[in-house]
């Protein structure tokens, strides 16, 4: 007796279109490609003098951030504005008591204001699922990062970047380096790369930063940086939070950099055309050397540009899925 038979994908409509965007896990390749293709059509909007399309005119998007974030929230805000939506930003410091209740009260209040979309960031894994289960059927929920679970728009902008520079995913070796354990970005990237057909996905880190059974997600595990980087086409560094040193996961930043930091010397074993990515914000000299972050392999700033187009794509697809999704 398990719950497997009672877990249809809550983020899809009956005809397999997006109604929420909560996780890459469970989506199929055509849908991910549709997101990338739609994003491509939005990239040029950013180059126009009037950077707006009217797809979400009259819609209200609420950025519901339970965890501080400047970059992600700003790109969601810009994406919504470029789609002509009205945007409301709400930053919530979580109260220590009766969290569940206050969260539900807040949702009902915001719904009463006729919101059409919640963009949610929360420190608890699964929080966007809970919110999606509580909102009325015509409200879309987009996950802007939940706990260690998922950051699907970040992963899709990374996929956009990879496709832009590498043309596709076949025969591609991708190495993800650093704190895999706490990284929602890594989990979403792994799902996206697997679904899009990357030939090899590697994760590299010390065992204290590798989740148990991570192999089950379809990756190869390396604890040695040089072995893991060999012949890689794409190298993704992850941000290392300072608090990891306090909880006995690592001895020091400098030892981490010595063993797992990306510098020019270590990257020489990669494919000569390898690109280097980072979801930001960067700790120069901890997970990545400044000369790499700012060097010619780095595509980090392009990731940010593509991020707006990818978020526009996901938002417009969710709204259209909601409207075509058959709300009675």
């Amino acid at each position: 007796m398990t719950a497997e038979d009672t877990s249809p994908d809550v983020q899809l409509t009956d005809d397999h279109r997006l109604r929420h965007f909560l996780s890459i896990d469970g989506l199929n390749r055509p849908l991910l490609e549709e997101i990338l293709d739609t994003a491509a059509s939005f990239v040029e909007v950013g180059d126009r003098s009037i950077k707006k399309v009217p797809l979400l005119r009259g819609k209200t998007v609420v950025n519901l951030f339970f965890e501080p974030s400047t970059r992600t929230r700003t790109t969601f805000e810009l994406a919504a504005q470029r789609l002509s939506a009205d945007v409301l930003n709400i930053d919530i410091a979580r109260s220590a008591t009766s969290k569940g209740e206050s969260l539900m009260d807040m949702l009902w209040n915001l719904e009463a204001m006729a919101s059409d979309m919640f963009v949610v960031r929360h420190s608890d894994s699964g929080a966007p699922y809970f919110i999606a289960s509580q909102v009325t059927p015509n409200v879309a929920v987009i996950n802007a990062g939940d706990g260690r679970h998922a950051h699907p728009t970040q992963a899709m902008l990374d996929m956009y970047t990879i496709r832009h520079y590498k043309g596709g995913f076949e025969n591609l070796r991708v190495a993800i380096v650093g704190d895999i354990l706490h990284s929602r970005v890594a989990r979403s990237q792994i799902h996206a790369l697997r679904i899009l057909g990357a030939s090899e996905i590697r994760v590299i880190g010390p065992r204290t930063l590798l989740p148990v059974d991570i192999e089950g997600l379809g990756v190869q595990v390396y604890t040695d940086l040089e072995q893991g980087l060999r012949d890689a086409d794409v190298v993704i560094a992850l941000r290392l939070q300072k608090e990891r040193m306090d909880s006995a996961l690592l001895p020091s930043e400098s030892e981490f950099f010595r063993l797992y930091g990306l510098d020019e010397h270590r990257l020489r074993v990669c494919h000569p055309d390898a690109i280097v990515m980072h979801p930001g914000p960067i700790n120069r000299g901890v997970e990545i050397a400044p000369e790499v972050a700012d060097g010619e392999r780095s595509v980090i700033l392009h990731q940010v540009t593509f991020g707006i187009a990818v978020r526009m794509a996901v938002m417009s697809m969710c709204i259209s899925g909601q409207e075509g999704g058959g709300v009675l």
Binding site: A3, K99, S125, Y129, F130, Q134, G147, A150, V212, G216
Partner: protein, 421 residues
């Protein structure tokens, strides 16, 4: 509810304690189990026709959590509807059971409600803080049947050893749930592939086995009477078998949901499946089932934890762990029997005589001369638990599932506490 003068006729009497399994009559006179026999004559007695039904000892639940003494009436009524006559109540309610006043309150409320016997456990340490010994002897003198630190195992090994030594001084039984909090802290799901996929902070099986090993070593050295609550993994079963082989005398139970569910239930962050210890792997579940089937694990409990809807209405890690399960203990166990995982006699033993032995009480048996604790079950019928739910806690994943067995009659302390069509 007056003392029954009741003839239960032609039921299949199943008494795991004596091994009796035959169709006969059972007579209750002045609240006592007077006689068992074929075609008993009892002028003036009320007749309950139990043809085609099972007549069992009143069921014993070795682990129940009650939020407060005020919930006793509703939860013991729910227990009676599930055939349960004795429930062992953890000391971690509000207030904590660490004073005679609280013990008295629990007993008075139970007496007043009159649906089932509440067997309270007293706190092992004051306020369950794991630092100072509670007044163990005073608590047991006031009516506690044993001592426990509930879901907050004593972490400091010296304090833990002294707790057990003090209890052993007066031959008081201790009930332990093993968990090393340094390994479980912050976790809410079994550390395994599902938690990794869902990004939920994990509680490794090691958190239980390390503390289980420590507990068994101290139990052996001190020689205290001990029971281990809620094993959740194959490693703990292996340790229990080793301990038995080494001659350490210890009993153990498992919650019914750990026999039915595994970590895969957490997909989509369904907070109804948030329990502590967490649901573990399929292999763990199978090891627990096998251990119940062969008697290594003595008893199966509900780990009943009724809670209000707000406790489960939040993102998964923020929800309270627990399932309200006192009404589904028997039907779920019968489902395992139906599925061929456990024999009927062993399943019933695990919620009657064996459960009584775990608690050090002579209960869960049909013995003429004693106060009557009996339940009558119609095994041919099914029901959806949610149709007739009595617990205040609606936190059950089985409200809408058809389950075998309906409790038709419960007699506790010689009084009818439940009767249904």
């Amino acid at each position: 509810m007056s003392q029954a003068h009741l003839l239960i006729r032609k039921g299949r009497i199943i008494d795991p304690a004596s091994g009796r399994d035959e169709i006969m009559d059972l007579l209750i006179e002045k609240g006592r189990l007077a006689r068992l026999g074929a075609s008993l004559d009892a002028p003036g007695a009320e007749i309950f026709d139990a043809e085609g039904m099972w007549v069992l000892p009143g069921l014993v639940d070795t682990c129940v959590r009650l939020p407060s003494p005020s919930s006793i009436a509703s939860e013991t009524r729910a227990a009676a509807s599930g055939g349960i006559t004795h429930l062992c109540v953890m000391p971690d309610g509000n207030p904590v059971t660490d004073s005679t006043a609280v013990v008295r309150l629990l007993r008075e409320q139970a007496m007043k409600a009159g649906f089932a016997r509440v067997l309270p456990l007293g706190a092992l340490t004051q306020g369950l803080n794991g630092e100072q010994l509670a007044e163990m002897r005073t608590l047991t003198d006031a009516g506690c049947i044993g001592l426990s630190n509930a879901g907050r195992p004593v972490q400091d090994s010296l304090t833990f050893k002294r707790c057990l030594e003090y209890a052993a001084t007066f031959d008081l039984p201790v009930m332990l749930r093993p968990e090393d909090s340094s390994l479980s802290s912050g976790g809410c799901a079994h550390e395994g592939p599902v938690a990794t996929r869902l990004g939920l902070p994990g509680i490794p099986a090691l958190a239980e086995t390390i503390d289980m090993a420590r507990a068994l070593l101290v139990i052996e050295q001190v020689g205290v009477r001990a029971h281990i609550h809620q094993l959740s993994c194959a490693g703990s079963v292996a340790l229990l078998r080793q301990a038995r082989e080494a001659g350490i005398s210890v009993t153990a139970d498992v919650s019914i949901h750990h026999l039915l569910l595994d970590e895969s239930a957490l997909a989509n962050y369904d907070s109804r499946f948030h329990v502590r210890p967490p649901l573990r792997s399929t292999a763990d579940r199978q090891a627990l089932l096998a251990a119940v089937a062969d008697g290594t694990i003595d008893a199966v409990c509900s780990q009943h934890s009724p809670m209000g809807s707000a406790s489960k209405a939040a993102p998964f890690p923020d929800t309270q762990p627990g399932i309200a399960g006192i009404e589904t203990l028997l039907p779920l166990l019968l489902k395992l029997v139906e599925d061929g995982d456990i024999s009927l006699l062993r399943a019933l033993d695990a919620i009657t005589a064996s459960a009584g032995r775990c608690l050090g009480q002579p209960i869960g048996m049909l013995e003429p001369g004693r106060m009557a604790h009996v339940c009558v079950v119609d095994p041919t019928r099914q029901q959806r638990p949610g149709d007739d739910w009595l617990s205040r806690g609606l936190n059950s994943p089985w409200l809408e599932t058809m389950l075998p067995g309906i409790v038709r009659l419960t007699v506790c302390d010689g009084r009818v506490t439940w009767l249904s069509d």
